[in-house]
């Protein structure tokens, strides 16, 4: 037996960390489905915990880990392009409520970012944290590539995106009830606008109409944020 050769292989091959990553995510999906799709048990949250434990135990650095799983990261690009299709499929709904959609998209979209920034600022957070918070309501792939563009920390940005999604999905229905929201289209649009994909999953439980408007809001806000946010930040620097 050649233990040295085995150790050498294990520390150089990307396969080990690819397997741990894919396996943890699969385990996350199984647990999520077994828990009747409990919002708090998002597959990625479970996967996070397993991979993080594996990294801590093995002492492998993030840079080494990232190099091993870079091939997965690559697919964020085509996946972002792929988001055009669900947006296209739901675009027909835009005509029915064009003015409400556009006003809500811009007014609510911008004020939600400003509010999050303001709260961080009064509690004395650093600039890099504030920048990473600006993409918190858009879908994670666009948040990652946009945060890289504006000098924020992508991993922090993704963390904020996931937590924002979970909070929205958990409290959305209760908030809509308290406020007496009349239309499913409003509920769906708000969920997609603020809580992106995780909110859209919740909107699917409300109604088909809510799901369509949620997907619409998520696609539109992703594009609008990615286009305007870097320009606005450049303007202030």
């Amino acid at each position: 037996m050649n233990i040295d050769a085995l150790t050498e292989y294990m520390t150089t091959t990307p396969l080990l960390w690819l397997l741990i990553t894919l396996g943890s995510f699969k385990l996350g999906i199984i647990i999520y489905e077994k828990s009747n799709k409990n919002t708090l048990l998002q597959p990625i949250i479970v996967a996070y915990t397993f991979i993080m434990s594996a990294l801590f135990i093995s002492g492998v650095s993030y840079q080494e880990y990232f190099k091993s799983v870079e091939i997965i990261h690559f697919f964020l690009g085509p996946a972002t392009v792929a988001l055009a299709l669900p947006l296209y499929n739901n675009l027909k709904h835009i005509k029915s409520l064009f003015i409400p959609i556009m006003i809500t998209l811009f007014v609510a979209g911008i004020s939600s970012i400003l509010l999050a920034i303001f709260l961080l600022w009064i509690f004395g957070a650093e600039l890099v944290t504030i920048l990473s918070m600006t993409t918190k309501s858009i879908t994670a792939p666009i948040a990652i590539i946009t945060s890289e563009q504006i000098g924020a920390i992508p991993s922090l940005a993704v963390g904020f995106v996931i937590i924002t999604g979970v909070i929205g999905a958990l409290l959305g229905t209760a908030i809509f009830k308290i406020l007496n929201i009349k239309y499913d289209t409003s509920k769906g649009f708000a969920l997609g606008l603020i809580s992106h994909g995780i909110g859209t999953a919740r909107a699917m439980e409300i109604s088909e109409k809510a799901a369509a408007f949620s997907a619409l809001a998520m696609g539109l806000s992703g594009i609008v944020t990615a286009i305007f946010l870097p320009l606005i930040i450049l303007f202030f620097q």
Binding site: T21, A79, T80, L83, L115, A125
Partner: protein
């Protein structure tokens, strides 16, 4: 499905090229997304191969951001130092934004239906 995958990659490639060429701040993949959307609007329909390619990318979407998301382990000092500010900002801005968006959309919808 190959045709669909090639379509996604071509649009990303064109988007990245445009972003670099014109020194745009918009990420190339987002430009690719907009171009694909315009392409679908002009074409007036999607095609099977593209549907499948999109499905496979979006079905496992959360998996794709794990490599970037794990970078959080290098940010533990920021998180522990600003834990309070981050938690308050996330919780309150999300609740208020969600309430405001739904109420605003509801108000505007009622308003526009009254006009009709």
């Amino acid at each position: 499905m190959l045709k669909g995958i090639i379509t996604l990659l071509i649009f990303q490639f064109i988007g990245e090229c445009i972003s670099k060429l014109f020194e745009l701040l918009v990420p190339g993949a987002v430009i690719g997304m907009v171009l694909l959307l315009v392409f679908l609007i002009i074409r007036k329909s999607s095609f099977k191969s593209l549907d499948n390619a999109v499905l496979i990318h979006l079905r496992y979407l959360p998996l794709l951001f794990i490599p970037a998301a794990m970078g959080i382990i290098t940010q533990l000092d920021i998180i522990s130092k600003e834990f309070l500010a981050i938690s308050i900002s996330l919780v309150f801005s999300t609740i208020i934004a969600l309430a405001f968006s739904a109420k605003l959309m509801d108000y505007l919808t009622i308003h526009s239906e009254n006009k009709k």
